[in-house]
């Protein structure tokens, strides 16, 4: 939330002053201490290095990557049942231990960390896609 708000204000500031720098700014390392002080766009711009724009993940791309990952997972035997709505245990025949491995593979694929509690709640392809789309850090 906070991050998107910052990005949005940064984008507006960049549009107002096109010479400033590239439109999107991604801070190199942001510590929580610093964040509160960087709310004003001008101060924000001086404190960051600008990288190219982050396009964000599309639903199709996320789905495709998760499907590929499941296709390559050795415990999924029947790939014909693999669809966007597949349930890990009901359709793909994975047990809870396999699900843990799938979720960890997803973590690795999108370079994020999923806390145990939320990892336990991911039971289907659809669920995983929704979760990844809700993560601003996923890429």
């Amino acid at each position: 939330m906070f991050r998107t708000a910052i990005l949005r204000s940064a984008r507006q500031a960049a549009r107002a002053a096109p010479r400033c720098q590239t439109p999107i700014a991604r801070p190199v390392a942001r510590s929580p201490l610093f964040q509160s002080k960087q709310i004003t766009p001008t101060a924000y711009f001086q404190a960051v290095r600008c990288y190219s724009a982050h396009a964000g993940l599309g639903k199709d791309e996320v789905l495709g990557r998760i499907m590929d990952l499941l296709k390559n997972f050795d415990k999924v035997q029947d790939t014909s049942k693999l669809t966007a709505d597949s349930h890990f245990s009901n359709d793909l025949g994975l047990d809870s231990l396999d699900t843990v491995e799938v979720v960890m593979a997803i973590e690795e694929e999108f370079s994020i960390e999923i806390p145990d509690k939320e990892a336990d709640a991911i039971h289907s392809v659809k669920h995983a896609v929704d979760y990844i789309l809700a993560q601003p850090d996923a890429h």
Partner: protein, 79 residues
Amino acid sequence: MARSGLQRDVLALYRQCMKAVQQKPIENRDNFRSFARSEFRHHLAVSKKDFGTIEYLIRKGRRQLEIYEDPGIRNISNK
């Protein structure tokens, strides 16, 4: 699916094991992964009401993880 605390402990331990696998040399990760898998699957038949056994196995698993986590251990035989 509602899970009991014990079930979550087992899954958390499994996650820890799989994370530990990632720290091993890449060519031997498959060995470690299948070792961890077989250690868990070996006890698949334990009744879920057999709390004493499950708790014992979790403790045993944690100790084992501590031992195998050591970076000095670079490979494992695959039975």
